[in-house]
Amino acid sequence: MYRNSFIVHGKLALPYQYFAGRLGSKFIKTLEKEHKIIGTRCKKCNTVYVPPRSICDRCFLDIKDNLEEVSKEGTVLSYTVVNSYEDHYPERPPFILGLIKLDKADTPFVHIIKNVPINKMKSNIRVRAIFSNTPTDTILNISHFEPVDYSVFEVGYTYEELEIGMSASFTKTITETDVYLFAGISGDFNPMHVNEEYSKKGIFGKRVAHGVVPQSLIAPVLGTKLPGLGTVAIEINTRFRRPTYFGDTITAIATVKEKIEEKKWVKMALKFINQKGEIIADGEAIVMPPKG
């Protein structure tokens, strides 16, 4: 490419030493020695600056002596997952940087967030400072931040994430115990479910499970898989097509059928099949997916 042209490679490799100043040094040393985070308050506008500033640049006042401790916990106002590599990055990509505002502070700063699944990261989660064991002379005396509560990442698909055709299932063998427990729960001791001799004379020839026992297998699909945690069921309709005998293995399948834009609800097609592949029931559900 570089025809008749040469390139002189160079590097600006000059030594630099930056002074954090007395206030900045105190902040950094307090992180290291006391594992405390301090800021400065402007007594005029009441802003608490973290990292501390000597001057409130809004009021242009010297505030360096108004030190106060702020919380080690805070809220992530925004975040980015850094995916491209640069020499100046503190971690190998992908890694998360968050814009974090600590409780009792008014100004946020940027720091590394760890122990979050990359694709689950989101704004507004609560995080806690984890202090470094090796002194760094910078803000990296806080090694990184971690979530306060991990359950916030266990959410299902949001309305925006769900696409028509997405599908999930759950499979379970229906045993005599299941049927007897359900009889106890519901009080439905109909002999067709609990009396083998009586059932021999009926149309199925033996005891069968209550219809809602296989139907109920759709609950773990909708509630924990698709859309998943955070889903609220609005409506479930099923039509029973074949009986379920004790020992049958039933698979409940839900597929996204339609997105209801005005309500942000989703219509799911439901299908229940047994181990022979026979459809024992089908139907529809309307659910409200989690908001994320």
Binding site: M1, S78, L97, L99, T138
Partner: protein
Amino acid sequence: MEKIGICAFSQTSVESDKWYQRFQEMAFEVVKDLLEQTSLDFSDSGIEMTISVSDDVFDARTISDNAMTDVLGAHYRCEEKVAQEGLQAIYYACSVINSGIADVVMVVGHCKESQAKSRNMVTHMAFDPFYARPVGLDFQIAAALQAQTFLDRANIGEDELAQIVVRARERGSKNVLYPNLTPVSVEEVIASKYLAKPIRELHAYPVSDGAVGFILASEKKAKEICKDPVWVTGVGCSMDTYFPGNGDLINLGSLKKAVSRTLDRANTSLDSIDIYEFSDQYAYQLPLYLTNLGFCNLEDVSSFIKNGGLDEKNINLSGGMLIGAPLILGGLFRVVEAIKQLKGISENQIQDPKTAIVQSSMGPAAQFNSAVVLSRDN
């Protein structure tokens, strides 16, 4: 303020690696063209002052303008370097001409982003060494944090961002001075890899080398130099507090102030402007600017973009900064595009525009903003 005239403008092609030229040669191409257009020289009755725009870190030269004295005609003459976003050279030229200190000023900016291993490495150096550099901040990461806040709070998503990129590239591809630029599809934008989520590779302005320049003069002189000057009727700028001191990353106080100061000096209002050129370094910035300036709000920004609001309001008809411009010269390259529209010679010409506003930003999450208002005689 009293208006000043732009008597000539010139730019080199903008390419991702102008390996065949040193930056002095790039700038000289512009200077030569400006002199030929105006027949001016560097005598006392000619160009009295040169304002250059360049950058020590991008050029890897202490006092980057010392390599430029001869190219800029400043041998035993006056040359001063704006080490800020390039639009500020026009701001400074306005003050020099309006004060009476000089009547004719040449502005020339150059930058080769390709010279640095990475432009993010350069902007990393803008941050304080104690709290921001250790975690790796650079302008791209600051932009990503701002973009995520915008996506969280505004009714806008991947499709709209992709649509902005597609539109920019389609418009930019008509301009022969952007030879590396190719049209892309919505699918290609959405499939391009993340640089820093939510910013994708195709959301970012391309790495750019180029030079750009203008001859500016007082009203009286401008009319002598050329027959149809484009007038600078307003300039303005504003700084915001250091990133991320303002917790609300999508409320751009400095953008609003810069634009309103500029409009005040030009004695006009935003909705009486015919065309708008914004320096959008990343795709999310254009809708972010529009929500801040009242073209649309956080709720209807999606429909504004999807329903052709950009074309309807004549926003970034050139494609904006997404077609390329070195970081420090975004505003000056937008001025070229605005002048072309006002003169009726743009590749994306609309009918008979009379006024334009150009905006540029610099610093993390658009900390500093500046603007100019341009107009032409009827």
